[in-house]
Every structure is written in structure tokens, then in C-alpha cells.
């Protein structure tokens, strides 16, 4: 008789259930299995009606974010044995509306993202004939870590400020703004600052730091937000002290 572990999984079908409820499933406790492996076993062998998002199984796609025992994590990068003897609570990411079972609606983030202009902004674009925007390895290193974000939404699920105030732009979006600000090819910093200097921009953050703790790619969104607060404060001071023409 091999060992097993109980998964306590949130079930919710919007067209059939009044509210979410837990359902318990016993799955084999295998040393090499992640929580995602256990969910796939569950769907294939026990209950085909369970719905969850996943794709790459290797921490790159950012699809399989869930709250496991209350902590937001990538279920493909979280081992089942860490929770033995169980039970393990598997719930949808906190702070988002639930669409079905473990699937959350991230349209709020998708709407906020383009406001950060997460692409290379130029005052004047070079033509294709003029070639590429070149960059040294040092210039790449300046923003590389902030570019590792996989939009898995764990930082939003971890952020108590976002939980209380959905207007808050949130960690990943601000980290992404910083990623482009730090890019030597980019000139969009003033435009991004205009958005982030607003009340619901960087000032929403109370520096809890849970976003950085939750991040599976070590992006450090909390660090990005602090850097941005400094920029925003400097900009505000300049606005008081300098005539409009020579700011920035």
C-alpha cells in the first residue's frame, strides 16, 4: 500500500453552484510529484470535471499559479511532499474573481498593463534601414532581472494592498514599468511616471514586501516600487521648484 495525501480543492461552477466549496481527493504521495502533477493525476484518473490552468510544467509560462495552503505559488514548482502528511489546500489565487474551480479572471491586470507602456518607447523611431538599437552587456544587466516576470499573478495574490484596493496598479505592472525605464534603448520614463505618480500608482504600496517573497522568478517588484517612489518624489519636488520648461 503506497502512501497517499489528501488534496482539499476549491470547486466552483458559476452556472451550477451558489458558492465555492471544498472537495477532498486522495492522490498518491509521490516524491517526484509537484502539486500540478497531482492535479493532473486527479483530472485524468479521479474527476475529469476539475478545471485548472497549466501549460509548460517548468516555471516559464506562468499559467499554473494557485494558493497552496494559503500561499500563492506556481503549482508546477511546488512539491507535494513538502505538505505531507496533508491535507493540502489547493485554492484559486487570492484577490481575483473566480471564473471556475481554480481559474481566476485576470482581466483587471490585463487592463492595467498597457497603461505602463511595457514596450520600448522612443521620441523618434529609427527606420528599419538605420538598424537595431544596440546595447552593451552592462546596459542589458541593468534591467535584466526585472525582465524575468512571467505574469503569473502570484504577486497580486500576495499583495494585501491590492486585496483591499483593486484600483492599485500592483506589483508586476510597476516592475515592468521599471524594466523599460532601466532599458538604455527606452525614452518612455516621463510617460510612465505620469501614470505611476497618481495616487493609485506607486503610492498605493505600503511596502509590505509580500510580492517579492512570492515571486518565483526573483524579480523583486517591491524593490522596483521603492525605486519608483523615489523617482515620483523627485519629480514632485522638481514640479515645486523648477519652471515647467526645464523639468525632466
Amino acid at each position: 500500500m503506497s502512501e497517499s495525501i489528501t488534496l482539499r480543492v476549491t470547486r466552483y461552477r458559476p452556472d451550477k453552484d451558489r458558492e465555492p466549496a471544498y472537495q477532498d481527493y486522495d492522490v498518491p504521495l509521490r516524491e517526484e510529484w509537484t502539486v500540478l502533477d497531482a492535479l493532473n493525476y486527479l483530472k485524468n484518473e479521479i474527476d475529469t470535471t476539475l478545471t485548472f490552468r497549466w501549460s509548460c510544467r517548468m516555471g516559464i509560462c506562468g499559467s499554473c499559479g494557485m494558493n497552496v495552503n494559503g500561499d500563492p505559488c506556481l503549482s508546477c514548482a511546488t512539491f507535494l511532499t513538502d505538505f505531507a502528511p496533508g491535507p493540502v489546500r489547493v485554492e484559486p489565487l487570492a484577490n481575483f474573481p473566480v471564473m471556475r474551480d481554480l481559474v481566476v479572471d485576470i482581466s483587471d491586470f490585463m487592463a492595467k498593463l498597457p497603461r505602463m507602456k511595457p514596450w520600448i518607447v522612443r521620441d523618434e523611431e529609427l527606420s528599419v534601414d538605420e538598424g537595431e538599437y544596440l546595447q552593451t552587456p552592462e546596459e542589458l544587466e541593468a534591467y535584466r532581472q526585472f525582465s524575468m516576470c512571467i505574469n503569473c499573478m502570484l504577486c497580486y495574490a500576495a499583495c494585501p494592498v491590492y486585496g483591499l484596493d483593486p484600483q492599485f496598479v500592483g506589483p508586476a505592472a510597476i516592475a515592468l514599468a521599471e524594466r523599460y525605464d532601466l532599458d538604455s534603448r527606452d525614452q518612455g520614463e516621463p510617460q510612465r511616471l505620469d501614470v505611476l505618480i497618481e495616487h493609485e500608482g506607486v503610492w498605493g504600496c505600503t511596502f509590505v514586501g509580500e510580492c517579492t517573497r512570492a515571486c518565483p522568478k526573483d524579480v523583486d517588484p517591491a524593490g522596483a516600487i521603492q525605486r519608483y517612489k523615489l523617482k515620483a518624489a523627485q519629480e514632485t519636488a522638481k514640479a515645486f521648484l523648477l519652471p515647467r520648461g526645464i523639468r525632466r
Binding site: 451550477k16 475529469t48 470535471t49 478545471t51 471556475r100 474551480d101 481559474v103
Partner: protein, 109 residues
């Protein structure tokens, strides 16, 4: 490939018996998977029908009975249609060569 075609035929015959337990209209991944299975079998049939006729090796299509590439006979797209009796029918479409003429793909040589 003949053996593969037989297996595929068996799977196609089993497909209509596939049942689905999930009756929800929201995020029904079981239904999506079943629909995808039907499409995957059709695509597999296209690949097999086309691969059997392509008596050469090219790119990801590698045959031990025809290890060489044969531009004279097979520098062409294969288009697979379904005939009225359900069998795949393979047609050829000539390749339009643009900037890069096709050449042999060599690795480490």
C-alpha cells in the same frame, strides 16, 4: 507508417464513443480536450497520408527507406482533402521560391 495508419483508424472508430462528465458551460476543459482529440486524430491522418507519399527525407520528415532529400519529386506542398468516402486525398502544390533558395540542411559539417 502502415501500422500507424491502422492504429489511427481504430482510434477514429472509438472517438464517437467518447463521453464527457462535465456538463458546465463555464471553462469546460474536458469538452475542449475531447474536441481537440477529434482534431488531433484528423491532423494525424493528414500527416500519415502525406508522409507515406513523400518518399524522401526532409527536415523533420525522416525515412530510413528513403534517407535522401529528393527535390525533383518532392519540392512541393502536400494538401490533404477528405474525400466523400472519408479517405484522405493528397494533392501537390508547387513551392514558390522567394529570397532564400532551398538547400540541404547540414549540422556540424
Amino acid at each position: 507508417m502502415t501500422k500507424g495508419a491502422e492504429t489511427l483508424q481504430g482510434l477514429q472508430e472509438r472517438l464517437p464513443k467518447v463521453g464527457i462528465r462535465d456538463t458546465s458551460r463555464a471553462w469546460n476543459t474536458e469538452l475542449v480536450t475531447a474536441l481537440e482529440a477529434a482534431n488531433l486524430l484528423d491532423i494525424a491522418e493528414c500527416m500519415l497520408a502525406s508522409g507515406v507519399r513523400r518518399e524522401e527525407s526532409r527536415g523533420a520528415h525522416q525515412r530510413i527507406d528513403f534517407p535522401e532529400r529528393d527535390d525533383d519529386r518532392f519540392l512541393a506542398h502536400h494538401l490533404v482533402h477528405r474525400d466523400a468516402d472519408g479517405a484522405p486525398r493528397v494533392e501537390r502544390l508547387p513551392v514558390t521560391i522567394t529570397r532564400w533558395p532551398p538547400g540541404e540542411r547540414v549540422y556540424g559539417r
